[in-house]
Symmetry: C2
Subunit: 324 residues, 2 copies
């Protein structure tokens, strides 16, 4: 049976968002709440709450299922949460717990992969069958899409684009490695550069964007100051864009994608960073691969919910033997 809606749930470190989503990507009902900090079962309860709240707007038979995106490393085939840096969900069988309470089919996946799902189905990568999704946010992640399907690697753990070594002696990465992309492009790295600048005369626009407190400078304050034309903030983004572009050289030479879609909070807002990265990539990638399009994601805060719903539709349809 061809269902009308799917529930998409986006579990983040600070808030859980859910939406009841039509097949064409319209969110007909949505809700959100802060992510509980009191342990794994409080998080699971909150997931069940938001799922029940949004699905109350439809008859159960109209709902394809529930997709849940987690900031976690998910063994997709086994539907197991292997590692979860910001939430205590490693080893918790979120899928079964939510399934037994909601009586719906549930599929869990890594949030980077679901960002790719959302953009592929409803956003900037619509119609692209082979593309690379890169999310620039607190972490740097993403996913590959091959022949119209997500490619997750042998255990579903692929797509950790941020943990590519880009400099042998580079700064330490939150994962413990050294010189990884995330150590240059994650929010903490951009914020640290912004904070250092905000303590100098040249950084006063960044300081202003942070309300006058250098310790309050975030990556977003740097992006905001750069959008206002501030040279220091622009320089920080251009330098980050340079590093990102050098990483794209490798991805383009290895994977020869048609399209690279850059999302996440930073990826969608830091136009200057993305433009610079594209220029650098085109200048250094091997000829013949430079026609790859680099676009910014467009789904914004809805990316996670829409991606999770798209996954739920796909899983439903493949269970039912339907083809898109």
């Amino acid at each position: 049976m061809r269902t009308t809606y799917a529930v998409g749930i986006d579990v983040g470190g600070t808030r859980i968002a859910a939406g009841l989503v039509e097949r064409k990507g319209r969110i007909v009902k949505e809700t959100k709440r802060p992510t509980p900090k009191t342990g794994p079962f409080a998080v699971v309860d909150a997931i069940i709450d938001v799922a029940e709240e949004v699905s109350s707007a439809a008859h159960p038979s109209e709902v394809a299922g529930i997709g849940i995106g987690l900031p976690a490393q998910v063994d997709f085939l086994r539907q197991e949460i292997e590692f979860c840096t910001n939430l205590p969900l490693a080893g918790v069988d979120v899928r079964s717990l939510v399934m037994s309470r909601t009586k719906s089919e549930v599929t869990v996946d890594n949030d980077g992969h679901l960002a790719a799902f959302g953009e592929a189905r409803y956003g900037a990568a619509k119609g692209a069958r082979d593309f690379l999704m890169i999310t620039l946010g607190t972490g740097v992640g993403g996913g590959m899409w091959i022949a119209g399907e997500p490619y997750r690697g042998s255990r579903g753990l692929g797509g950790e684009i941020g943990h590519t070594v880009i400099d042998l002696d580079g700064p330490e990465c939150p994962c413990g490695g050294r010189g990884h992309l995330e150590a240059y492009l994650g929010r903490p790295a951009l914020a640290a550069k912004g904070r250092a600048a905000a303590r100098t005369f040249a950084g006063r626009a960044i300081l202003d964007a942070a309300g006058g407190d250098p310790d309050a400078v975030t990556a977003e304050a740097v992006v905001m100051a750069a959008r206002g034309g501030d040279a220091t903030a622009r320089q920080i983004l251009l330098e980050a864009g340079e590093v990102f572009g050098r990483a794209l050289v490798g991805f383009v030479n290895l994977l020869n994608p048609r399209l690279i879609c850059v999302g996440g909070g930073i990826g969608e807002s830091a136009d200057l960073l993305i433009e610079r990265a594209g220029e650098v990539m085109r200048g250094e990638a091997l000829a013949g691969r430079r026609d790859v399009e680099v676009v910014q994601a467009v789904l914004g805060n809805d990316a996670g919910v829409l991606g999770a719903a798209a996954l739920a539709f796909d899983e439903h349809d493949s269970r039912e033997g339907l083809h898109r």
Copy 2:
């Protein structure tokens, strides 16, 4: 009709090798000759010569077709040679020229992709459905294998693993880029380190391996001295292995492969380099991905011929609607 043989041709910068190959990978007749230096048509003529020579041992109806591996960037879908650093074949329609003279079906591909084909069908990656092939030779190349099929990217230009930026300020790469993997691991890079060492007291084993002439030191001389236990040569390979391992960290985190197969003349002989790379990768890759196996290729000088023949069998079978 299920054919018995395929012709595999491996076109290198210095020699062209061909084999008449049985489905199980046995080479029943082979030949080779130096690669002509007198222009593109001489190379094409030599390819036709070796093809005719080896296929004379079979009846035409028994031969599935001819596979040709080229040290070139091949647009696989269009069967066009886009770039070819060491031979004047860019833009030459090798496929049609060989087809019209031999009256056989012909398929051309990049040699790194064919190394993956050979190892997947007959060698160290036999049975692996998802793996990464990396060839360490004069250049550094390779290919990805996904769900039992080569993945070439949107235009068939993927797999240029050597042109991944591993150090922002690293040495210049033969391609013109900077800090690429090939600038650390290609034969010229290893030979340059060996030559520098051979001019010092500590490098006398390397000098001996090169017949006493420091200018004659090759990457192979370094590998040979390391195999003999020489500390200086071992150090050169360990340092290269360290860089290779850092690159594997990124590939493993991005692609989550089950297996990495390292071939090419250096990859098959420099055990120490490969072992060190595996250690470094396991120490820095994100948890859950470290169980990837790193193995050395086993097909040696036959890899190109066997890979090209495997491709010809596959192309024949898919034309005929046969499944392996």
